[in-house]
């Protein structure tokens, strides 16, 4: 539950800012370079980079660098965390069961 909660917290932190929401909306139309995004905003590039880092660290976007151009891509799965709570609970329990299974089968192998 906390895992889910932490993810949700992260998503909401990332979305708790109009600039970052704008970036999400903008990336909804397709990957865009940091430079192109920054040009449309009334702030310095270093200030904008902080927003990019917040979005990336909370998993809402990925960035890739090609030469001098850093491109931002929306991570739709992460946004879905907000939307599909049941799927998220299922994932948590599936992964929890994976770990339980790993623990007890490892013990088995050690005993044999």
């Amino acid at each position: 539950m906390a895992q889910y909660s932490a993810q949700l917290d992260g998503v909401f932190v990332a979305l708790a800012d109009p600039t970052r929401r704008w970036v999400i909306r903008r990336l909804g139309h397709g990957p865009t370079s940091v430079g192109d995004l920054a040009r449309e905003l009334p702030m310095t590039l270093p200030s904008f980079m902080k927003h990019v880092q917040t979005l990336e660290s909370n998993g809402l976007i990925h960035t890739t660098k090609s030469g001098r151009v850093r491109t931002c891509v929306l991570n739709r799965e992460r946004l879905a965390v907000v939307d599909d709570w049941l799927a998220e609970q299922r994932r948590i329990w599936e992964e929890r069961t994976d770990r339980l299974e790993r623990l007890v089968t490892d013990q088995q192998e050690k005993q044999q």
């Binding site: 906390a2 929401r21 909306r25 909804g28 770990r99 299974e101 007890v104 088995q108």
Partner: protein
Amino acid sequence: MNPDLDLTIARVIRAPRAAVWSAWTDPSRFAKWWIPAPSLCRVDRLDVRPGGALVTRLSDDGVEFVPHLDACFLVVDDHERIVFTNVIDSAWRPTNPSPVPMTAEITMTDHPDGTDYRVIVRHGDPAARDLHEKIGFADGWGSVTAQLAGVAESQGAL
């Protein structure tokens, strides 16, 4: 079982039932799988009996531990079944847990290859879901809905 609210997991685990039971009831073992790495789990209470406490904390840095789960066992059938809920806390106080109120039922039976392990997690009624949506979309988050719609429209089904 309500497919809109509940989830089930069925798995054959290649280990004896006693090992699976022990992973649920021995605090040091429980701590090894309950929370995904790299977060650390601390088991404050694991009193596996009806009415007993299930209290865990989690830490991302190994120093500060924050509350994770404060729940209460409802049914415990030795080596067969564990039912707990987070709607009643370890002090039997009714709570309003986030993000979702739930009751989890874990059953284990012998299987030729090990243990037939099943989980049913029953979540709160649609009000719980509405609450979740309120958390997500009310004041200040209203634009999230529009953005999700925008994303869905521009990139196909979300």
